[in-house]
C-alpha cells in the first residue's frame, strides 16, 4: 500500500510537470506574439514603397520561407484555382509551404472567430459578402457585424498603403473592405445574386421569348410547364438559395435597395403596404408555382448541375455558378450543351426596373494582425493581385472583376457587360438590412419567399403583416 501511495505522489508530480510544461508553451506563444507585432510593424513600414505592384511582388517574394496558413470557403472552381495558384507560389518560393483549409461558407464567421482568436490562420477569407451590413446612422439598438467585431478586436491587419491595394478599383476597396479609415480586406470580386440563368434553346423549343416583365415570366413558366419541362430550380435543400433566388424579384420592385432598408427603419415603407403586398404575392407564386418540387432535394451546387441537364428553363441564382455551365478551358468539367445567358430577374411590370443587377462584394482576403509571417502574407496577396493572375482568377470563378484592367471573357461576361457598362450594378438588400434587437424571426421580409416554400405561410397578406409586425416589435423595443 505504501508503494501505491508513492505511485500516487509520482502521478501528481507528473501532472504538475505537465501543467508547468503547458505554462511554458503559453509563454512561448506570448513571445512569438510579441515578435509578430514587430514583424507586422516592419511590414507596415515597407508599405510606403511606391514601386510598381508587380516589382514589389517579385521583391517581396525574394528569400521567403515558412508556412502560410490560408483559409478559403468551398466553391469548387475557386478551390481548384487556389490550389493551382498555391502550387505555383510554392514552386516560385522553394522555402514556402502553404497550408490550405477549405471550409463551408456558412462556417466562415465561426472559423474566422476561433482561428483568428487562436492565432491559427495567416490569410483568410474573412467574408463572402464584402463588408456588408454596416450600421447606418438611422439604426439604433443593433449589433455590429462580425467583421467589425474582428477589426475592433485588433485581429485583422490594416492593409492601407500596400502597393497591391492600388490594383483594385476604389469602390471595391472603399465599399468592400474598408472601415474607419483602414483597409482590412482585399475584395476579389462582385457577384450578382439577382439574376437568373436562361436556357434559350428550351425557350425556343417551347416558342416563347426571353421574358422582360413579370407577366411575361408567368406566361413563359406556364408555357414551359405545359410542354412538360420545369420552369425554375434552386437549391432548396440548403434553404438560403430559395430566398436568394428571389432577391431579383425584391430588387425589381424596390430598385433603391438601400432606400428600402432605410424606409423600413424610418417607417416610410412597410412590408405590408401596397408594394409590400405585391412583393409577397409574387414571392408566393415564385416559391409555390415557379420552382420545381424537386428543388427541395437539391443543394446549391446540385441545383445548377440539375439545371445543366437542360430541361429547366430558368435558374435564379448567383452569377458565381456560371462556371458550372461554362467551365474554364483547363477544367475537367463539361459545359452546358445549350445556349444560355444571365439576365436580371424580371420581377417588375416595368421592363426598365428589370435591367439592374443587384449583388454584393464577394470574397475578401484578410491578414491576421499577429501573423508570424507577415512578409509572406503580403507576398502572397501581391502575387495574387498581379493583373494577369487576378484576371485568370476572376474568369475562373466568374466574379465581376474588382480590378479595372480585368474583364470577364466568357458567356457570363458577355451577358452582363452591357448592364455593367451602364453602371447597372448596385449593392443589394441583403447587404444593407439589419434587424433591430427585439425584432421577431419574421422581420426580414427579404427572406419571405422561403416562408412560402417551407409552408410557414400560405397567405401573402398574412405573411406581409407578420413581417411588418415583427420588424416593428424591434423598432419600438
Amino acid at each position: 500500500m505504501k508503494q501505491t501511495v508513492q505511485k500516487l505522489w509520482l502521478l501528481l508530480v507528473a501532472l504538475a510537470l505537465v501543467a508547468a510544461a503547458c505554462g511554458s508553451d503559453s509563454s512561448s506563444d506570448d513571445t512569438a506574439s510579441d515578435d509578430t507585432s514587430t514583424e507586422t510593424a516592419s511590414t507596415d513600414d515597407s508599405s510606403s514603397d511606391d514601386a510598381a505592384a508587380d516589382d514589389d511582388a517579385a521583391e517581396a517574394s525574394a528569400g521567403l520561407e515558412g508556412t502560410l496558413r490560408v483559409m478559403i470557403h468551398q466553391n469548387p472552381p475557386m478551390v481548384e484555382w487556389v490550389e493551382k495558384f498555391n502550387a505555383d507560389f510554392e514552386a516560385a518560393n522553394p522555402g514556402v509551404s502553404i497550408d490550405l483549409s477549405v471550409i463551408d461558407a456558412a462556417d466562415l464567421p465561426t472559423s474566422n472567430q476561433t482561428r483568428l482568436s487562436a492565432s491559427d490562420v495567416d490569410v483568410t477569407t474573412v467574408t463572402v459578402t464584402g463588408f456588408a451590413n454596416p450600421v447606418q446612422p438611422y439604426m439604433t439598438n443593433v449589433e455590429p457585424p462580425y467583421w467589425q467585431q474582428l477589426i475592433e478586436a485588433g485581429l485583422l491587419m490594416d492593409l492601407s498603403g500596400q502597393p497591391f491595394v492600388d490594383n483594385y478599383d476604389d469602390a471595391a476597396i472603399a465599399e468592400g473592405g474598408s472601415f474607419d479609415g483602414g483597409v482590412y480586406s482585399l475584395n476579389l470580386g462582385r457577384v450578382s445574386y439577382s439574376g437568373m440563368f436562361v436556357n434559350h434553346d428550351l425557350l425556343a423549343e417551347v416558342g416563347v421569348e426571353v421574358p422582360t416583365t413579370w407577366d411575361e415570366l408567368v406566361g413563359a413558366c406556364d408555357a414551359v410547364k405545359g410542354a412538360g419541362y420545369e420552369c425554375m430550380t434552386a437549391g432548396g435543400a440548403d434553404g438560403w438559395p430559395i430566398f436568394v433566388g428571389a432577391y431579383g424579384l425584391l430588387g425589381s420592385l424596390y430598385p433603391d435597395q438601400q432606400g428600402l432598408v432605410e424606409g423600413l427603419w424610418t417607417g416610410d415603407l412597410a412590408w405590408d403596404d401596397e408594394q409590400g403586398q405585391k412583393l409577397f404575392e409574387r414571392y408566393q407564386i415564385y416559391a409555390n408555382e415557379m420552382l420545381e418540387d424537386q428543388a427541395a432535394g437539391l443543394g446549391h451546387d446540385a441545383a445548377i448541375e440539375r439545371y445543366k441537364a437542360g430541361d429547366v428553363a430558368f435558374a435564379p441564382t448567383g452569377n458565381w455558378q456560371a462556371g458550372v455551365l461554362e467551365p474554364a478551358a483547363d477544367s475537367d468539367l463539361t459545359p452546358a450543351e445549350f445556349e444560355w445567358s444571365y439576365i436580371p430577374f424580371p420581377g417588375s411590370d416595368n421592363p426598365e426596373d428589370n435591367q439592374i443587377l443587384f449583388g454584393k462584394y464577394d470574397q475578401g482576403w484578410a491578414v491576421a494582425a499577429d501573423t508570424p509571417v507577415p512578409d509572406l502574407a503580403m507576398a502572397y496577396l501581391a502575387a495574387f493581385s498581379e493583373a494577369e493572375t487576378y484576371n485568370d482568377f476572376a474568369n475562373t470563378v466568374n466574379f465581376l472583376p474588382t480590378q479595372p484592367t480585368a474583364t470577364l471573357d466568357n458567356t457570363l461576361g458577355r451577358s452582363v457587360a452591357p448592364l455593367l457598362q451602364e453602371g447597372a450594378f448596385t449593392v443589394g438588400y441583403e447587404q444593407w438590412f439589419i434587424g433591430p434587437d427585439g425584432a421577431g424571426q419574421w422581420a426580414n421580409g427579404g427572406q419571405g419567399a422561403m416562408w412560402f416554400y417551407n409552408g410557414d405561410f400560405d397567405d401573402a397578406a398574412a405573411a406581409a403583416a407578420q413581417a411588418q409586425a415583427d420588424l416593428e416589435a424591434g423598432l419600438s423595443s
Binding site: 457585424p145 435543400a237 424571426q441 417551407n454
Partner: protein
C-alpha cells in the same frame, strides 16, 4: 497487508487519504465541468463576444431581459422553449416505450437475438452528425429512398422542408437513441432473478401479470435511469436540428438558439456569447427544474417498489 491497511488509514492520514485519492478526479471535474459552467453563468451578465481582444462589459440582466421579455424576439424564444418541452415530452415517452419493447424482445431466448441487439444499438454509436446525414439522404426529395417509396402511391417526400420537419427530427432522435434505452433496460431485465418469474408462473400468473407484478417493479432502477437520461438528453438535443433542418423559423429548440446566437449563425452573423450564455442558463434552469422533479418522482417510486 492488513497491517499496511491500518497504517494507511490510521491517525491523521486517515482523514486526508480519501481527499488525496479524490484530488485528481475532482481537479479535472472542477477544471472542465464546474469551471466553464460558472464562467457561463458570469458571462451571461456581460456582452462577451468570444473574440479575443474585444472588451467585455457588465450588462447586468439585459441579456435575460432581451431573451425573455423584449419585443417579438422574446415570443420566438418562448416558442423555442415550448418546442423544446414538446420535443422532450414526445421523445422521452416514445423512446422509453420503444426501448422497453426492444429490450423485452431481445431478452427472449430467440434465435438471432445477438444480431438484433447489435442492430438496435448500432445507431447509437454513429453520432448525431452521421445520424442526421443518413436521414437527410433517406428523406431527400427527388429520388431519395423515401421519396421513391411513397412515390409509388403518388406522394412526394417534402418532410424536411415543410412544417413536418420538427416531427421528423423527433423521429430521428428516437431512432438514434432508443438502442441506448434498450441496453439499460436489458441490463435491468437480466438482473432480475429467474426464480421470481418461475415462482409466479407456478402460481399461475399470466404473461401480463408477470410483467406488471414482477418484471416492472424489479426494473425500477433501469426505469428511473432511462427516465432521467431521456429527459435530460432530449432537452439538450440540437445537433440533429442543425444537420437536418438548419436554423429555420419555427423549428428551433433552445439548444440550437444558444449555438446560433453564440457563433454568428443568426441575422447579422454577430457573435453574442454573453447573450447565448444567458440563453444557456435558461436552458440549464429548465433542465435543473425538470431533472430534479423527475428525480423526486423516481426516488419516491423506487422507495415504493424497492423499499
Amino acid at each position: 497487508m492488513a497491517q499496511e491497511h491500518r497504517n494507511l488509514f490510521s491517525g491523521g492520514r486517515r482523514r486526508f487519504t480519501p481527499w488525496l485519492l479524490l484530488a485528481p478526479g475532482l481537479g479535472i471535474y472542477l477544471l472542465i465541468s464546474v469551471g466553464p459552467s460558472l464562467a457561463t453563468a458570469i458571462y451571461s451578465f456581460t456582452d462577451a463576444t468570444g473574440i479575443r481582444g474585444l472588451p467585455i462589459s457588465w450588462v447586468g440582466l439585459d441579456n435575460y431581459d432581451e431573451f425573455l421579455l423584449q419585443g417579438a424576439r422574446s415570443r420566438d424564444n418562448i416558442d423555442a422553449l415550448q418546442r423544446t418541452l414538446l420535443f422532450m415530452a414526445v421523445v422521452t415517452v416514445v423512446q422509453f416505450g420503444i426501448g422497453l419493447v426492444m429490450a423485452l424482445l431481445v431478452n427472449q431466448n430467440l434465435r438471432g437475438r445477438m444480431f438484433f441487439r447489435t442492430l438496435f444499438f448500432v445507431p447509437v454509436i454513429l453520432g448525431a452528425v452521421v445520424q442526421g446525414l443518413m436521414w437527410k439522404l433517406f428523406l431527400r426529395p427527388g429520388g431519395g429512398p423515401m421519396d421513391t417509396l411513397i412515390g409509388w402511391f403518388g406522394l412526394e417526400s417534402q418532410f424536411l422542408t415543410g412544417p413536418s420537419a420538427f416531427y421528423w427530427v423527433i423521429v430521428v432522435q428516437i431512432w438514434a437513441n432508443a438502442g441506448f434505452t434498450m441496453v439499460i433496460f436489458l441490463a435491468g431485465l437480466q438482473s432480475i432473478p429467474s426464480e421470481l418469474n418461475e415462482a409466479a408462473a407456478v402460481d399461475g400468473a399470466s404473461g401480463w401479470q408477470l410483467f406488471r407484478n414482477v418484471t416492472w417493479p424489479q426494473l425500477t432502477p433501469a426505469v428511473n435511469t432511462n427516465f432521467l437520461l431521456n429527459i435530460i438528453g432530449s432537452l439538450q438535443a440540437w445537433i440533429l436540428f442543425l444537420v437536418l433542418v438548419g436554423y429555420r423559423n419555427g423549428t428551433q429548440v433552445l439548444g440550437y438558439v444558444v449555438f446560433a446566437e453564440g457563433f454568428g449563425q443568426t441575422g447579422n452573423n454577430t457573435f453574442r456569447q454573453g447573450f447565448a450564455a444567458a440563453a444557456s442558463i435558461v436552458l440549464f434552469l429548465l433542465v435543473l427544474v425538470l431533472g430534479m422533479t423527475a428525480n423526486f418522482v423516481v426516488a419516491r417510486r423506487e422507495r415504493k417498489y424497492l423499499g
